[in-house]
């Protein structure tokens, strides 16, 4: 059964996202929260990596964190799903375990 | 709280564990033991010294289960068992012997 991975650090400052992508299993859910939402914004140097990741994993970004940082939910990397807090709870409930990549 | 040993004041926490383990000496151990209602015998010292060696090697006070096993390994099953250790330290070989040895309360003590 799949796992939910949450990532909360900007990929431009820390390697949490890289480490998460390197360990997650195909079909796992990944949720970008807090400063990790910058990874989901279109047009950054990370966009290609996230688009690739979205082919293997179910990649989500937390809408309120994205909006707080000026990100447009309509302009996230292709394949990334925007979720709200209820969506976060659903993801946590639907997976076997949650791994928070602090 | 605090102890007085050779005229010096030695700080301890509210349960009587030393704040600074380097302030420990054997006279203080006797005094802490007396407060705990224990008169130190060679058997008590054997356990207290074992704990101090364990701490110096691993930087933690062992959980009772771990202490018992380690004593059994070093001194044999006659000493490495709950009955023997609780007879020496009725309130628990981890908690009580560590206090007398000047060590912190055991990690993993729940």
């Amino acid at each position: 059964m799949s796992m939910l991975h949450t990532v909360n650090k900007s990929p431009f400052e820390r390697n949490n996202l890289d480490s998460c992508l390197g360990h997650a299993q195909p079909g796992d859910a990944i949720l970008l929260i807090e400063d990790a939402v910058y990874a989901a914004m279109a047009g950054t140097a990370m966009a290609g990596k996230i688009a690739d990741a979205a082919k293997t994993f179910r990649v989500h970004v937390l809408g309120p964190d994205l909006k707080a940082r000026g990100g447009d939910p309509a302009k996230v990397v292709a394949g990334v799903t925007v979720v709200d807090y209820t969506g976060f709870v659903d993801l946590a409930a639907r997976n076997k375990a949650v791994n928070a990549w602090l | 709280m605090a102890y007085t040993s050779n005229g010096a004041t030695i700080e301890a926490d509210e349960e009587g564990y030393l704040i600074n383990i380097t302030e420990w000496d054997e006279g203080l151990a006797d005094q802490i033991a007396k407060d705990e209602g224990i008169t130190m015998s060679p058997e008590h010292w054997e356990v207290v010294n074992f704990l101090r060696e364990y701490y110096s090697e691993y930087q933690i006070a062992p959980a009772v289960r771990v202490l018992t096993k380690a004593i059994a390994k070093k001194m044999g099953p006659d000493k490495g068992n709950n009955k023997y250790l609780y007879e020496l330290f009725p309130y628990g070989p981890g908690k009580q012997a560590c206090k007398i040895a000047g060590l912190p309360k055991p990690t993993g003590c729940v």
Partner: protein, 126 residues
């Protein structure tokens, strides 16, 4: 705690990925691991990324005013915590080999580590 007391054994993995003295995470996780031993669970420890530095030999943090808790990793065996895994890629990136580590570990690839994590019931990464 109810599940633990009822005797169900779960697979726990503590994933260490931060260097030991710059933040308090490594020490906090180590204390959690020692306490977890009291619950007779199936405990695994993983060292990846900078977490590998936690078990590097030769640490002497006295002069920076930090407790040297690195010898405590050697006590884990006495707590019956013997499933320690280190990621090969992270070890190589840091110019380290198994000989540089304080404790016996199993060196696994990043792919193997990912599969191990997937088998766990509870994963705590810090």
């Amino acid at each position: 705690m109810d599940e633990m007391e009822s005797g169900i054994v779960k697979k726990f993995m503590f994933v260490n990925r931060k260097a030991p003295h710059g933040t308090v995470y490594a020490l906090e996780v180590l204390e959690m691991v020692l306490i977890s031993a009291a619950f007779d669970q199936d405990v695994h420890l993983a060292f990846i990324d900078d977490g590998i530095y936690q078990i590097k030999k030769g640490q002497a943090p006295a002069e920076i005013g930090c407790k040297n808790f690195s010898p405590t990793y050697r006590a884990l065996e006495g707590y019956d915590i013997e499933k320690l895994y280190v990621e090969a890629e992270g070890l190589a990136e840091r110019g380290l080999t198994e000989d540089d580590l304080l404790v016996p570990v199993e060196v696994v690839s990043r792919a193997e580590m990912g599969r191990l994590m997937a088998e766990m019931d509870v994963v705590l990464t810090a």
